[in-house]
Symmetry: C2
């Protein structure tokens, strides 16, 4: 009930043709960081359920009709469908990182540095794509199981490529056609061809920036394994969650909430050595500069559930834990 009443206050993009939301499923949020190629099944299941609740007006039937291991048949779900049930799914794109998938293969072979003429790099490229598409398939299945009409789309197959690691070609028309047909495209960080280096890794965060710039969603949600952006590594004593960051037109940014005494840029830069948070803020700031609110929030919590039912009110509720990055007024 609560969900329904809340969702009516949000701008439904399903009918207008505009994009409601881009959600980043952080690799560390849906896979087990220290266990090679292992899904965090609990998190993935909760996140899928929260996505469904945030994006679809009515519960809908499962769309993963795969044979379960040990069974010889497929559970008959077909009879449950009737032509009356037309669940409206908001226009949504999911992008996920690699987490414990792909990272081993990419780093051991040096795919990000290019050099496809080296047998090790070429093999690593193949191995990386196998690993990340394995994760993609599992995420697509988890979303489909919840009734989200998810469609896996690999950047490599979409013909996306880079030049000196920057996006050189990334036509979004296939993604838009999938959205127009009522599907939820599920993209991922991928090994791609690079016109200068031969090949490299195109990260999920760069994909999101690109999609946000071209498709202008109402808001963007990063689901991670911590509660948001802190002023220092969150494991350190006294780490403070930055609740609201304002980005100015010139790209500079400052913390609006909470009021901090220290020079924030410096403490966040120190943070970067452990978690790449400055990179994340920089990418998020580029999106926010477009006038698109960005939420960074811990996956599979009540706070992620609220973010996915977003957008959040302009005055961020006190009991919501996460970081909002938005354009300064």
């Amino acid at each position: 009930m609560d969900r329904r009443s809340q969702s009516t206050t949000t701008s439904s993009a399903a009918d207008t043709g505009s994009l409601h939301c881009i959600v980043k499923l952080g690799g560390s949020a849906v896979s087990c960081k220290n266990e090679l190629e292992t899904i965090n099944e609990d998190n993935l299941s909760i996140v899928s359920s929260q996505l469904r609740q945030g994006m679809i007006s009515e519960p809908s039937h499962g769309m993963d009709w795969s044979r379960r291991p040990g069974s010889t048949a497929i559970q008959t779900v077909v009879d449950k469908f009737d032509d009356k049930l037309e669940s409206q799914c908001k226009r949504l794109i999911v992008v996920h990182g690699a987490g414990s998938f792909g990272h081993f293969q990419a780093s051991r072979s040096g795919v990000h540095k290019g050099g496809l003429n080296k047998p090790l790099v070429k093999a690593g490229f193949v191995a990386t794509r196998i690993s990340v598409t394995t994760l993609n398939l599992e995420i697509v299945r988890a979303l489909a199981k919840e009734g989200i009409p998810s469609i896996g789309m690999s950047p490599f197959s979409c013909g996306w490529s880079t030049c000196k690691r920057n996006i050189a070609m990334a036509d979004t028309s296939t993604v838009v056609k999938a959205l127009d047909a009522g599907f939820v495209p599920v993209l991922h960080g991928d090994a791609v061809l690079d016109t200068s280096l031969g090949c490299t890794i195109l990260s999920g965060d760069v994909i999101i920036s690109h999609l946000a710039e071209h498709l202008r969603p109402d808001y963007v949600v990063f689901l991670t394994d911590v509660s948001g952006v802190y002023d220092r590594p969150p494991t350190e004593p006294g780490a403070v969650l930055l609740r609201e960051i304002a980005v100015r037109d010139d790209g500079s940014w400052s913390v609006l909430q909470p009021k901090l005494q220290d020079e924030v840029e410096i403490t966040v830069a120190a943070h970067d050595t452990t978690g790449g948070m400055v990179t994340k803020i920089t990418e998020a700031a580029m999106i926010a500069k477009l006038g698109i609110d960005v939420y960074i929030v811990k996956a599979a919590t009540e706070h992620s559930a609220r973010a996915l039912k977003g957008p959040l009110p302009h005055n961020i509720p006190n009991d919501w834990l996460g970081t909002v990055i938005r354009l300064a007024n």
Copy 2:
């Protein structure tokens, strides 16, 4: 030894930039027909090995670096690579059918008939793609394990679409870029958007015709679960394997070998009611009309091994079992 000497007599396309071969892995050849979503592991393994022997000059190291079930680590294969080993892989495209993957989901929901506004069709579209991409990933992994630099590419993600079930848009540039980078694209029959019907199924055979027309391979091999094209269902007593079929410019065709007494068109048409063989001959004839030889041969046999080391000599060896369809002189 035999392999090496034979392969030097074939036109290697790796250097010239032209496409050596398109191989169709019939769904029924690599999956178990009567067992839902079950790979025919033995066949797939043999076919992968035969493909490697036919296409790569030297044995190469495995490129599937996935974690094996039950293991927590990935076997270290990285150390085996050195920069000297540069296996030349002939330019090759693999296309596979669905077999016992995808068929259940597609037929129960009627995806091929279109109507994406119906919840059942939309769910079936999602379920079909999950099933066929599951098979695609397994085939890519099997090929990579053999050292073939295989890259899964879904027609949907490539932006391919149809209009009234005929290909409307199927840009091959991403496939060509993958070939140019030294990879082996692995495509598959897929659920795609149809500008007239909403959606439909794009079959592997139609994909092959399209690729053959645009990329002009030296020859095309169809790996199936029977020895070739027969004059009647091969399970019927007295069924005769058609060894050589000549296609004329006007599309008509006749059997050159063996010399048959009966009117062949009629008996083959009768065959169609059981196995769609006329459809297969029609597609093969369209390719042969382009001047491209087509071999239809049973997968995972010595005959498929020879076809994959092809092209075969113009006078087909007596001990080779299969069907050659080519342009009449």
